[in-house]
């Protein structure tokens, strides 16, 4: 650990953030330091200002947000510099992993080239760049040869996440600001990432970790700050604040931790079994949505997924599990009619659905609804979210506008979203807020099958609890079947009865959740049985 004589790598003093038209500041005089060799974590409920803080610490802000205070990066006050001069101050010193990595990867550049170019920031010698790019790719958990020639859109969600991480690492920065680094990763990768972060810190880097993943924070952080409504409400070492991860003991003095911290910790455990209890009995005689013999290949003929045959009877709750890049999203997209299968089809009540969503009538579009993995990208950026949400019920169920809006608002409320939020444009919502909005949009269609692709990845423990609790209730009225694509095993346990395990595009195991999943607290991976 470094001595206190060194100035901290990052020193935020009285940093505030204000948005036009927001009644309270997004950040309220936040102070924090990150020292070389240390990991400072910021946790807090969704919308508490983590992302805003992460950006502010690098002297940046999203559209319409004004910053105040001082952000000293290696002694330089970034906020005191003109925006044009900030990049130079950051170059090679600080790097950022954004919460939505898919939006920041240049769609025109292949992964290898983009990484090598960024390596120039930390590696003046040209020859060293390629090697550095290779190294960080491995460090981020990707196979260099496999991704080198790929464009970002040819990568799975988790792979994009890791590529963005690699781009942050490759700059050789001393300070890393990581915003939800594990959100798209399977447990094994998340665990590996934790080790990587720790190793980096031990190697002398400073890390500012913004995350709702308490497990990751426990494994890596030296210091933890709890943020609520833009204010730091709790501050301490990781063990002090977050404990060991075991359920809170009832005899702990309440004063030891702030209410917000306790809420976060409380929500981490004891996921309500309510969802499973209300599962209606499977309707006999089939019905519902079924995929038969679905195969997806690339143009070049490489298989991406399949052959897979699965049924989703009304009211069923199925989990789709598998390591990152195993073809989960690909399969889910086939169900939704977003990816055309090379072979096989998707049927509803025995009749094949048109393969592409734009060929489906409103009636048929309602059958399968899909929540994108990159939910933040699935909104039109120039109009308020509420109007966008209301369209589902208007267009697919023919409700009048007022009714549709009320229904969307109600569902949003059930998922913990304030009405005020919904009147903003998507650019002014946090990652977790948008993710829930996307869920609302699909839910209000009251589909026969709802496909959720990683809908808890951006949620803190409290919000996640609310979602897991509310979801069964929201699905029940229409007898909607659920396909829950996720790396979040506790959530899977809480929500689903059946599970399907994917590996390399194939369905390698299926059955009741308890049989497919490893025991709770066991090894982090999902080792496919062969």
């Amino acid at each position: 650990m470094t001595g206190h004589a060194d100035p901290p790598l990052l020193d935020l003093q009285e940093v505030s953030a204000h948005a036009d038209g927001a009644e309270r500041p997004l950040l309220d005089r936040v102070a924090l330091t990150v020292v070389a060799g240390g990991v400072t974590a910021v946790v807090g409920p969704s919308g508490s200002g983590k992302t805003t803080l992460g950006l502010a610490s690098l002297g940046a802000s999203r559209n319409g947000v004004r910053l105040g205070g001082r952000a000293l990066l290696a002694g330089t006050d970034l906020l005191g510099l003109s925006p044009a001069r900030r990049p130079a101050a950051r170059a090679g010193t600080a790097a950022h992993l954004p919460q939505h990595p898919e939006t920041v990867l240049d769609p025109l550049r292949r992964a290898g080239g983009a990484l090598t170019e960024l390596a120039a920031l930390g590696h003046p010698v040209r020859a060293a760049r390629k090697a550095a790019a290779r190294r960080v790719t491995a460090l981020a958990g990707l196979d260099w040869e496999a991704v080198r020639r790929r464009f970002p859109h040819q990568l799975s969600g988790g792979q994009q996440q890791r590529l963005a991480l690699a781009s942050a690492l490759v700059t050789g920065a001393e300070l890393l600001v990581l915003d939800e680094p594990t959100s798209g990763l399977d447990p094994a990768l998340a665990h590996a990432l934790g080790r990587t972060v720790r190793a980096l810190a031990d190697g002398g880097a400073g890390v500012l970790l913004l995350s709702h993943d308490l497990r990751l924070v426990r494994e890596t952080a030296d210091r933890v700050l709890v943020l609520e409504n833009g204010r730091v409400v709790d501050d301490g070492t990781a063990p002090d604040l977050l404990g060991t991860g075991a359920p809170l003991s009832a005899d702990e003095p309440p004063a030891a931790r702030h209410r917000a911290t306790r809420e976060l910790l409380a929500a981490e455990h004891g996921t309500g079994a309510a969802g499973r209890n209300t599962t209606p009995a499977l309707a006999p005689g089939g019905g519902g949505v079924a995929a038969t013999g679905v195969v997806v290949r690339r143009r070049s003929g490489d298989p991406l997924a399949g052959p897979v045959s699965l049924e989703f009877p009304p009211g069923s709750r199925t989990a789709l599990l598998g390591p990152s890049g195993s073809g989960k999203t690909t399969f889910a997209r086939v169900l939704a009619g977003l990816t055309t299968p090379t072979r096989g089809d998707v049927r509803f009540e025995g009749r094949p659905l048109p393969r592409r969503v734009d060929r489906r009538t409103a009636e048929l579009r309602r059958v399968v609804q899909y929540v994108h993995q990159s939910s933040a990208e699935s909104f039109e950026d120039h109009r308020p979210v509420l109007g966008q949400l209301a369209y589902t019920a208007r267009l697919l169920r023919g409700l009048p506008e007022a009714e549709a809006t009320a229904e969307a608002m109600e569902a949003a409320g059930a998922l913990g979203l304030d009405e005020a939020l919904l009147h903003r444009t998507p650019g002014r919502l946090s990652g977790g807020q948008l993710q829930r909005c996307a869920l609302v949009r699909a839910l209000t269609a009251q589909p026969a099958l709802l496909v959720c692709d990683e809908v808890t990845s951006a949620l803190d423990t409290v919000s996640r609890r609310r979602v897991l609790d509310a979801l069964p209730r929201l699905l029940a009225p229409a007898g909607t079947a659920l396909l829950f694509v996720s790396h979040d095993l506790p959530a899977v346990r809480a929500l689903t009865t059946e599970a399907v395990l994917f590996d390399a595009g194939r369905c390698v195991r299926r059955g009741p959740v308890e049989e497919v999943l490893p025991a709770e607290g066991g090894p982090h991976g999902l080792s496919p049985a062969r």
């Binding site: 990049p87 170059a91 950022h96 954004p98 240049d106 025109l108 170019e117 920065a173 299968p341 090379t342």
Partner: protein
């Protein structure tokens, strides 16, 4: 990619054929024929009829087209009806002139337009931007001949700096005296340059505030790199199409500039061929233009394809 290229090349041949048939069909719709044009006002009906027989114009139209196509397949472009000489002769002479005008203009446009567009787009709203942008629009909106004539009057006639016209000069003479090319190339460039620069400008202005650019800056990437490696390529996607139009326009001959400055390039050649109702020649021009257009479009498509990769998953 190779399969695609092959398919497109095959298609290109078919496209050219279709254009040829269409051009011929349209050509036969035009009133009068070569005999009428050649004998003109003074021709008596006997003279015109004699010439018509001599030129083979009394044969049915499609027989003539068949002949022409047949000779095309054997590598001959046929003989001009008006001169009786191989059509290649005249077009060959004119291509040189058009290339001398078009290629420098093209090079200028290619180099300067992205430059101006980028400078302007990066300073969107600034005085530099407004000045450049206004100049571009003015140059684009002023009729070409007005621009040409004003330039000649000021630069050549008043100041005596550059030759006023290129009349009586063939390719060799033009090469020997490149000063003649300066004004016409400037006029030619002006229009296309403005088009392209503004397109690049719009793309740059849009791309420089995009999430990717902001993120690269967050990582500490220098502004120059952000612009050159990310913003500009993104802006060039739509501009590539504009550029293709520009190549076509420049290589297809520029009728107006040619006539203002007295050049004999492909543009005036084509007009002349149509006026003379010299169908073999018209068709050869059409083949040339269609070929250029098809090739340019193919290249434009490949560039656009690279600059806007599609999400392809399945066959």
């Amino acid at each position: 990619m190779r399969a695609y290229l092959l398919r497109r090349s095959l298609l290109a041949v078919i496209q050219c054929l279709v254009v040829l048939v269409a051009v011929f069909a349209v050509g036969t719709l035009l009133p009068g024929d070569t005999a009428d044009v050649l004998r003109g006002e003074l021709g008596t009906p006997e003279q015109v009829a004699a010439l018509r027989t001599q030129l083979g114009l009394d044969e049915p139209a499609w027989t003539r087209f068949g002949h022409w196509l047949g000779s095309l397949l054997t590598g001959h472009l046929g003989n001009s009806l008006t001169t009786g000489l191989p059509v290649g002769d005249d077009i060959g002479r004119r291509i040189g002139v058009t290339l001398l005008l078009g290629v420098p203009a093209l090079v200028l446009v290619t180099v300067v337009a992205p430059l101006l567009g980028t400078v302007s787009g990066l300073r969107e709203g600034s005085r530099t931007d407004r000045t450049l942008n206004t100049a571009a629009v003015v140059l684009h909106a002023v009729p070409e001949f007005v621009l040409g004539l004003l330039l000649v009057a000021s630069v050549s006639l008043a100041a005596g700096l550059l030759p006023a016209t290129a009349i009586g000069m063939d390719t060799a003479a033009l090469i020997a005296q490149p000063a003649v090319l300066v004004l016409p190339v400037a006029v030619l460039t002006a229009r296309h340059l403005c088009d392209l620069a503004r397109q690049v400008r719009a793309g740059v202005a849009a791309g420089r505030h995009g999430p990717v650019a902001e993120h690269l800056r967050l990582l500490g990437t220098r502004e120059r790199t952000v612009v050159l490696r990310h913003v500009l390529p993104g802006a060039l996607g739509p501009a590539a199409q504009q550029f293709a139009r520009c190549v076509e326009g420049l290589l297809g001959g520029a009728v107006l500039v040619e006539s203002v400055f007295g050049f004999r390039g492909l543009g005036s050649g084509f007009v002349e061929a149509v006026q003379n109702r010299d169908l073999p020649q018209v068709q050869t021009y059409a083949l040339l233009f269609a070929g250029t257009a098809v090739v340019v479009n193919l290249v434009g498509d490949l560039v656009a394809f690279r600059l806007a990769p599609r999400r392809e998953v399945t066959a």
